[in-house]
Amino acid sequence: MSPTGITVSIAAALLVGAAAAGWVARTSERPRGPAVVMARSEGAPGAVPVGDLAGAAVARLPADLPNPLSGDAGAIQEGRRLYVRLNCADCHGFEAKGAMGPDLTDTYWRYGGTPVQIYKSIYEGRPQGMPAWGHALPATSIWQLTAYVESLGGAFPAKDYHKGLQGDLSGAADRTAKKSGASSMEGQ
């Protein structure tokens, strides 16, 4: 299989997935040969929907957008309150170290660990059981939840999107994280 062929497959797969999910990756309008060329480097979503915060005119923002509420103590506190209130804690654990759902304190991110990617996971849901909260929550609440998840230590800073993608941030949080013996796995 030729390199061009691979590019076509990846771009096509992204577009099909994007169309199914109701959003479209931002790509170059100008085709190069038979391929649709990504404006950004391979694997990077060109843009991520960020809900009502961006307004109807700007439905998508770049993947490296920082969380406007990142590090805000009040937002983190409200995010934690929502995390318990919306039953996130029962799935991901009251210590967010994973139960039915994945650990949110480590540096392993199935769907990306930058603020916008975390926002997107909360907004759209994910295939293995994560509900789509975009239907129920205003953008501010999702950013607050994102701020809380960021405060747990495993998230990737927005500017380090590519470092996270290339594995350069792995282990950093684990090296500094406090060890916890508790597990909140449910018992059915």
Partner: protein, 641 residues
């Protein structure tokens, strides 16, 4: 007090049994069988000649529908739920010669909880999610794949299953392999070809319903139930027609009598369970709709009375302050007409269950003399730590004794048939309760015991754990947990104490006969054989054979992952006896995943025989003759193209 005595007994028992570390309890019974006697904390072996061995309990089982002695046709092998094999080739004299004969890895890594089935020359296995079925040819070297079937269940179910994307077993009947998919479908395959014959949708995984339960075949009915006690589901058990897959009846375990299938023939033994629509009236208004009472344990069946017995899960939400009342019919057992689903009687083990104790654990159908009178009973080890022996025709509790340490109940009220609750152990929202024992998963979870008709004992993996508990009020949001319990779990005997044990239990007298302490919770099923050997595995991956009479450990083998599945015993086409067990840790055993020694996940079936002999033994260059390739359970490409 108790733990001090146990610790001393344990210490002295170690020196007596060597590797066995068995703990003898109930001195009277021990003397009677000539094994050892506990005096002032010391266990002394009796050297006298072997007396005639006598059953501890006098219990027997009819073991209907077990099939030929060498086969294993259902999860528990028979309708009585005994997990007893009549085979004797492997016995206490030669069990130490067990070696690995062959293995099979199914390529999946969620917890492996089911028992393989062996019918004729074929072994049937089904993986945890994505629930791939395999038929293996036992007559040929390498036990090649005859067929495989990948049903492609929806991945949404993975994140809706509370306790790992497991499957607790599968069933055989009418020439079909029948099992639940995690995404709430029941599937029937042609056992000869693996072709899909029917697939019936039962519920909606988007609302938090999953189906990790083992299907159970009773005559021409397939009995299945739902999971989601933590998700605010409405619990049910249903029967499908084995030929067509069409639903014949469905009974809910919360709600009005019409939903629960309670009619004029419903005769509970105790007065507080009599009355109209108790499945509504023992709840705050409308709370029963999300009240759970799901069904995910093993079913047993009495063909004489055409009755099935099933447990029901905890009430939802798990925060009891939000649902004052007994919350019928959660954390209970039902006897139902297998043909219609009509309830004959019920008994609630833990009224107003405040700790997620559930009542889903299996019932084992045994007949035994109690106070001089032969009774037809069911024996049930509840997560609440009482082991019950109950008249299975009336629902009368005959024996109720704790099989492990607990502190939530101060005793059993024989007049009402209710456990007495220590008010200090009742959770209040926002207040952290220290050291509630057992925690939510109980001192025994769903892992099934085995019964030996010779010893009259039940063999069961148990826990020895407690929790610190904080309740948080919860709102019902479909598809999310309706839960609210924040817990830290730890051993009852202190930080470095053992989390579990394997015990022998006399169900007629409600007493423990021996105990083997284990570092981790014992979440393995057990199997007992006429060779007087009992097999079980540990979460850290030791597969053990013990003497059914004494609890002496005769053999142990370390597997590649932990055992939370159910061992079986069968006779191969080569007339050799085999013992098979899956190594694939997961499920509720993951609560101890941060402990030293916790093994990696795995997905390998290990099969043992004396000296490791198998159909490939005398073949110079064994080769695989298979018509089918394995599935690719990660749904990746099968190769570069």
């Amino acid at each position: 007090m108790r733990s001090n005595v146990l610790a001393r007994l344990r210490a002295s028992a170690s020196s007596w049994t060597g590797t066995g570390r068995a703990l003898l309890l109930g001195a009277g019974a021990v003397v009677a069988v000539g094994v050892g006697i506990a005096v002032a904390g010391n266990v002394i072996p009796i050297q006298a000649p072997q007396p005639v061995r006598q059953s501890y309990s006098g219990a027997r089982a009819t073991m209907d529908d077990a099939g030929p002695p060498g086969e294993w046709r259902s999860q528990a092998r028979d309708y009585s739920n005994t997990r007893f094999s009549p085979l004797t080739q492997i016995n206490t004299a030669n069990v130490a010669r067990l070696r690995v004969a062959w293995t099979f890895a199914d390529g999946t890594l969620y917890g492996h909880e089911g028992a393989p089935l062996v019918i004729g020359d074929t072994m049937y296995l089904v993986s945890p999610f994505p629930n791939i079925a395999y038929a293996l040819d036992l007559s040929k070297p390498g036990e090649p794949i005859k067929w495989k079937y990948d049903p492609n269940p929806s991945p949404i179910a993975i994140g809706k299953a509370c306790c790992d994307a497991v499957l607790r077993g599968w069933a055989y009947g009418d020439g079909k392999l029948i099992y639940n998919l995690l995404d709430d479908h029941v599937l029937a395959l042609d056992a000869k070809t693996g072709r899909e014959l029917w697939r019936t949708k039962m519920d909606n995984p988007e609302h938090g319903v999953t189906m990790p339960m083992s299907a159970f075949v009773a005559g021409d009915k397939v009995i299945v139930g739902n999971s989601g006690g933590e998700m605010g589901v409405n619990g049910w058990v249903a029967a499908l027609d084995i030929h067509s897959g069409k639903e014949v009846w469905r009974a809910h375990n919360v709600g009005p009598d019409s939903d629960v299938k309670i009619g004029p023939n419903f005769k509970p033994f105790y007065g507080w369970m009599k009355g109209k629509d108790l499945g509504v009236r023992t709840w705050p208004a409308d709370m029963w709709r999300t009240g759970a009472g799901s069904v995910w344990g093993f079913i047993s069946y009495d063909p004489k009375t055409n009755t099935i017995f099933h447990g029901t899960s905890n009430p939802g939400p798990r925060v009891p302050a939000q649902r004052p009342g007994d919350n019928l019919w959660t954390s209970a057992v039902f006897a139902r007409d297998a043909g219609t689903g009509e309830a004959r009687w019920a008994y609630q083990f833990t009224p107003h269950d405040q700790w997620d104790y559930d009542g889903v654990n299996e019932s084992i159908l045994l007949d035994m003399p109690i106070k001089g009178r032969m009774r037809q009973t069911l024996v049930h080890f509840d997560r609440n730590t009482y082991a019950y022996t109950i008249d299975r025709n009336t629902g009368e509790v005959l024996v109720a004794s704790p099989f492990a340490y607990q502190n939530w109940s101060t005793g059993f009220d024989w007049k009402s048939g209710r456990p007495m609750v220590d008010p200090k152990m009742e959770p209040k929202p926002g207040v952290t309760l220290q050291r509630v024992c057992p925690p939510d998963i109980g001192q025994k979870d769903w892992e099934p015991p085995a019964f030996h008709p010779g010893t009259g004992l039940l063999y069961v993996g148990i826990f020895n754990i407690c929790m610190d508990l904080t309740d948080h009020p919860v709102a019902y949001i479909p598809g999310t947990p309706y839960d609210g319990m924040e817990m830290k779990r730890y051993p009852a005997d202190g930080k470095n104490g053992h989390w579990g044990a394997f015990i022998a239990w006399d169900p007629a007298h409600g007493r423990k006969v021996w105990e083997i302490p284990e570092k981790f919770m014992v979440m393995s099923g057990a199997v007992a054989t006429a060779g007087d050997v009992v097999f079980y595995g540990t979460v850290d991956g030791w597969f053990r054979a013990v003497d059914a009479w004494t609890g002496k450990v005769l053999w142990s083998h370390k597997l590649g992952s932990g055992v939370i599945g159910q061992p079986i015993v069968y006779m191969g086409p080569d007339h050799r006896e085999y013992v098979a067990v899956a190594a694939g840790v997961g499920g509720a055993a993951m609560v101890s995943a941060s402990m030293g020694g916790f093994p990696p996940r795995g997905g390998t079936l290990y099969v043992f025989s004396i000296d490791g002999l198998s159909p490939s033994t005398d073949v110079t260059k064994p080769e695989t003759t298979s018509l089918a390739p394995a599935a690719s359970p990660d749904h990746s490409k099968t190769g570069r193209r």
